[in-house]
Every structure is written in C-alpha cells, then in structure tokens.
C-alpha cells in the first residue's frame, strides 16, 4: 500500500507519498528523501541510531523527521539509508516519534546527490481517504 512518486516541480523536488498508516507515510517519505538526497546504493550501512521527536501536529512532525535526517547528513556526515523501526504515539497532548535509523558515518561528500536546504510546509497535508493516508512533500534545493 505504501508508495512514492516524484512529481514535476519547476525549481525543487516534489514527491507524492502514501501509506496505510502515519508510520507507513513517514517511512515512505524517508525512502523518497534518501533517494533524492543521496546515492544510497554506494552506502554500506552498519550502524543504528535512535531518534525521538515531539510535535503538536502530524504534518510538522513529518517535517521535523525529514529535517532531522537532513541535519544528520549535512552536519554530522551520518547517512541514513533506512528505518528499521518507527512508532508514533500521543504523549502529554503531543505526538512522539521514536525511530531506529540504519546508516553510517562518512566524510565522503560524493555520497550526497543533492544539497537539500529544507523540507517545506508547501502543499504538505497528510489526509486519509478510505484506508490510505497520503500527502505531497516538497524539498527546497
């Protein structure tokens, strides 16, 4: 059920993502982000990293999640290629995301395909139709 498709955008990168749950949408969006940002086939993932993020809104949480992955690439030189666990739950009137990322640290900048400035709020709106959750995500490059 989960899927992503890159769609035309004049200046940046836009992708339509869908899944059977919020978690599937997040994991699918991560796959699309990795495809856009890195040459993932060249990355030998050997480490796990746990992240916890909080937000009051599911859309903002998706942005925080993808921007966290971007920060790890751009600044920590830690390249995520996959997510082995991802849970979203309500905690103290906020949403909590816990994820275990699979990746590796590398100073090889040729692994970066595209320098993504940020994941934007533009057209972002996770909606449920039937049993499918979907949204468009735009990466500013």
């Amino acid at each position: 059920m989960s899927n992503y498709k890159f769609i035309e955008h004049a200046a940046d990168i836009a992708v339509e993502v869908s899944g059977g749950s919020y978690e599937e949408v997040f994991i699918t969006a991560l796959d699309a982000f990795c495809k856009a940002a890195m040459y993932t086939k060249d990355i030998q993932a050997s480490e796990k990293k746990t992240i916890n993020l909080y937000s009051e809104d599911i859309n903002w949480l998706l942005i925080d999640f993808l921007n966290e992955i971007n920060f790890l690439i751009q600044t920590k030189k830690w390249f995520t290629i996959n997510c082995v666990e991802l849970n979203i739950e309500e905690q103290d009137n906020r949403l909590k995301l816990s994820a275990v990322l699979l990746g590796t640290e590398s100073t090889d900048s040729s692994l970066i395909k595209e320098e993504i400035k940020s994941v934007t709020y533009h057209q972002l709106n996770i909606r449920k139709e039937g049993n499918v959750y979907s949204t468009i995500v735009v990466f500013d490059i």
Binding site: A10, W60, T75, I112, E114, S118
Partner: protein, 484 residues
C-alpha cells in the same frame, strides 16, 4: 485578462493589477508583460501567492511582484511586500530559506582579448581554490563557536578584521555588509553547527562564480562611474548563508506557526507563518535573520578574497596589476526596516524582498558616496550561457516598489526536464561552443542549469527598464563558470 480564475487589470504595458477581493488587504501588482503572463504565469501558482501575500496583517499599498516572478514558498519568488512596523507582521516566507542569497560583482584591469587563452586555466584554478558543491567545506579553517558568533554580529567586517576585505569592499556592500541588531542568542546551536565549516563556500544548485566580460554598455556615464569598459573582465559571485540560513528559516517557521495561532491570524498558506514585528517572536526572528544575512555577506567576501588570490596566481600578476575592486554587493532574500512614503507620510516599514533586489536612487543616503550621482548598482544574473546585467536604481522604484527590482531570470523548466533534455549530449562542449568554459562537481548540475532551463533574463530586465524601475547600464557575457 483572466488567468486561472484570477482577474488581471492592465495598468500599462508592463504593469498588471489584481484588484482587492476577499481577505486581501491591498491589491496585487505584477510587473510583467502580456507575453510573459501567457507563456509562464499561467502555468504555476505564483499569482495565487501574490494574492496570499496581500492577506498579511499591516501590508502597505500593494502585494508586489517583479517580472522574474515564479512559484515559491509562501511568497512568490520575485515578491515584495512592506508591512507597517507598528501594526504589521514579519514572515520568514517573505525572505526564504537562503537568507541573504545575493550577488556581488568585482571589476579587474584585465581585458578579455589579452587573456582569453588563459580562461580555462583561470577557471580550473578558481575551482581548486573555492569549495563548491554539496558538502563542500574548507575554504578557511573551520570556525569555532565563538568565531562564528563574531561573524554573525560583524558580517563582512569580520573579513576586514582578518585582512580579507578592504575599506572599499565594506563601503561597496549593501548595509556595509553588516545589519545592526544581529544577536547570536537567537540562533540555535543546530544552525551554528551547520555554519561552522561553510564560511567561504559556494554551495550547489543555482549558486555560481562566473568570469564575465563586459559586452555592451547602455549608459556610458554610469558605466564610467562603476569603472566599466567594453571587453573588461569581471567576477560575479552568487551565493548566500548556506546551511546556517536554511536552519534559521526552518527553526523560525515553527516558532511563527505557533505565533500565528497565538495572535489569531488565519493566513491562506502555512509558509506565510508570521508574527507582529513588535513581538517576542517577530523580534527574535528578525535578529536571527540578521545573523544569517551577516554570515552571507561575509561568505561572499571570503570567496571574493580567495578569487583575487587565485587570479593573481593564475596570471602571475600583482594586486595592483589585477586591480580587483568590488563594484557592489546586493542581497535578494531579506527583510529590512526602511522608511518609505505612504499616503504622503514617511513611515517605517519592514520591506520583505524575496527574490528581489534593493534599487535605491541617486542621492539616497543609503548608497555609497561614489554612486550618489547615478543610483545604486543593481546586479541581475542570467543563465550561464547567455548574459547578465548591471542596472541602476531610480526614484520611480522608491515611489512604486519600495525601492525594489528584479533579481534574475527564473527557471522555465524543471530540473527533471532539463536533465532529460541533456541526456546523451556533450553539454561541456556545447557550452564551450558558446564561448563558456565550465568547471563543476558533476555533470548533473551542469545539465540542470543549462541555459534552456531558464527564462531569457533580457526580457525581465527590459520590463524593469521600460517601467523606469531600474535602468540598464551594461550587459555582461559569461566566459567561465564554476558550479557546485
């Protein structure tokens, strides 16, 4: 004319108005032509974004757009809006992720005809000296957190302190390369960390360093004041605040989305998140944005200094022989507090320029003394195969556009389409046949940035010229390009 359900009323050949309706607080005004409306504007959402910007609390006169208008985030690229500092808001959507993305042009004593056989070597040497492309770092030693905080407060003056800038460089930079009121306390640790190794880096995408030659002069007097002559070699640098600026925008979009709820604003687009200028949230963003602006000015100054050293090495000439002098440096993604006349009264406003360049007139107290007789130089880069322009600001710009003009060409083709069009072709040879030597990190960037992916910047510049907003001074032709 009706474009995608939006009514456009012709004011004159190069100016069109969207009358105020619904929640718009002011009308929209777009500097463009009928042919540009029909060829580009009907294909995207930029006009809708002009309407959205007209909803911003405290907006004055018009929601404006320059002729390089295209679809952005929140504001259209090419958007200009001034908000009353007492009752209005500030919005990161009116500045963009790349805070103080901008352009500088430096002149030399070099003549193209005398060095044209050395252009390839010049470009190769510049490419070695100036970090370009994704993940590039190391132009100068990695800063520590105290040093970067000095950069955020001092801007180009930090380069001056370490011997990378002359007095004249500082004077010839918009705001003297430093916005007052930049306090690093409002910048997150994460933003600081993203900037530590990026001072003096070009970045990727549409950022570049070009070796240009002056091909045509439209106004001899103004060109003379700027020190331009036909056949002269110039260096143009286009980059911004790199990861530090992107992170500040990102951090404050979240802060201002919360503020929007707190202040009860209902705006048509989340990317227009905003807060009153005179609020904790608004003042914090403004101060952090100034830090990023200062970082960007210093970034371009460091790159210019490295370019000077590289040219001296490549050509084995002295500094005085090279005659490397900054003509001017302008930012085109910024929000600044300025005083403008509104309804016959002087008023302080926050002018958002998102993909728009300041264009102040002769005698403005905010431009260098050397340009008082001709107006502020306005630098308008085109694509890497055709041409760029230098123009000058006018009093018409002050009256009509809060002293603003266009900033470049704007894409007409997505990166994906440009890549597809370039497949199987020898793009480097094609550029060479156009007289342009290129050095880039990879063929992908060259393919995405080919001239056919961009509008003809001459059309954009002509609309501004014919409207009297900025007047053409010179046309430049690229002969060497560095891309990330």
């Amino acid at each position: 004319m009706n474009i995608n359900g939006i009514e456009l009323v012709k004011i004159h050949e190069n100016l069109w108005e969207i009358p105020k309706y619904g929640g718009m607080l002011v009308p929209g005004r777009i500097y463009t032509s009928q042919s540009m409306i029909e060829s580009t504007l009907k294909n995207d959402e930029a006009l809708k974004q002009v309407i959205n910007v007209a909803h911003l609390p405290g907006i004055q006169k018009y929601s404006l757009a320059m002729p390089d208008i295209h679809w952005g985030y929140g504001f259209p690229i090419g958007g200009v809006a001034a908000t009353d500092i007492e009752s209005g808001v500030i919005s990161p959507g009116g500045v963009g992720y790349d805070i103080n993305c901008g352009v500088r042009v430096a002149r030399t004593n070099l003549e193209y005809n005398k060095i044209k056989t050395k252009i390839q070597k010049i470009i190769e040497d510049l490419f070695k000296k100036i970090p370009a492309g994704v993940g590039a770092s190391g132009a100068i030693k990695k800063l520590n957190s105290n040093e970067i905080k000095d950069v955020l407060v001092m801007g180009s003056k930090w380069s001056h302190k370490i011997g990378f800038a002359t007095d004249e460089d500082i004077i010839h930079t918009e705001e003297n390369g430093c916005l007052e009121g930049a306090d690093p306390i409002f910048v997150s640790d994460r933003a600081i960390e993203r900037g530590l190794d990026q001072a003096g880096t070009l970045g990727s995408g549409n950022h570049f360093l070009e070796v240009d030659v002056v091909e045509e002069i439209f106004d001899k007097e103004k060109a003379g004041v700027m020190g331009l002559f036909i056949g002269q070699i110039l260096i143009m640098i286009h980059t911004g605040s790199r990861g530090l600026g992107y992170q500040i925008c990102d951090d404050y979009l979240k802060v201002l989305l919360r503020a929007e709820k707190k202040f009860g604003y209902k705006l048509p687009d989340k990317q227009l998140a905003c807060a009153p200028i005179k609020s904790l949230e608004g003042e914090s963003y403004l101060s952090a944005m100034k830090c990023a602006a200062n970082f960007a000015w210093n970034n371009r100054q460091v790159i210019m200094h490295l370019s000077k050293l590289s040219l001296m090495d490549s050509l084995n000439i002295t500094e005085s022989g090279l005659g490397f002098k900054l003509i001017y440096d302008v930012c085109h993604n910024i929000a600044k507090i300025e005083e403008h006349e509104i309804d016959g009264m002087k008023k302080k406003v926050c002018v958002h320029r998102k993909g728009a360049t300041r264009a102040f007139p002769p005698d403005s107290p905010f431009i260098p003394h050397s340009f008082k007789s001709i107006g502020q130089p306005v630098l308008i880069p085109g694509d890497m195969g055709r041409y760029s322009f230098i123009a000058s600001g006018t009093s018409t710009a002050i009256k009509e556009t809060f002293g603003s003009s266009c900033h470049g060409a704007g894409r007409v083709q997505s990166r994906h389409k440009a890549l597809a069009q370039g497949k199987g072709r020898n793009l480097i040879s094609e550029l060479q046949s156009m007289g342009v030597s290129i050095q880039a990190k990879g063929i992908k960037t060259i393919s995405e940035e080919m001239p056919y992916a961009y509008k003809d910047v001459a059309e954009v510049v002509d609309i501004m010229h014919n409207s009297g907003i900025t007047l053409k001074v010179a046309k430049l032709r690229p002969v060497g390009v560095i891309k990330g």
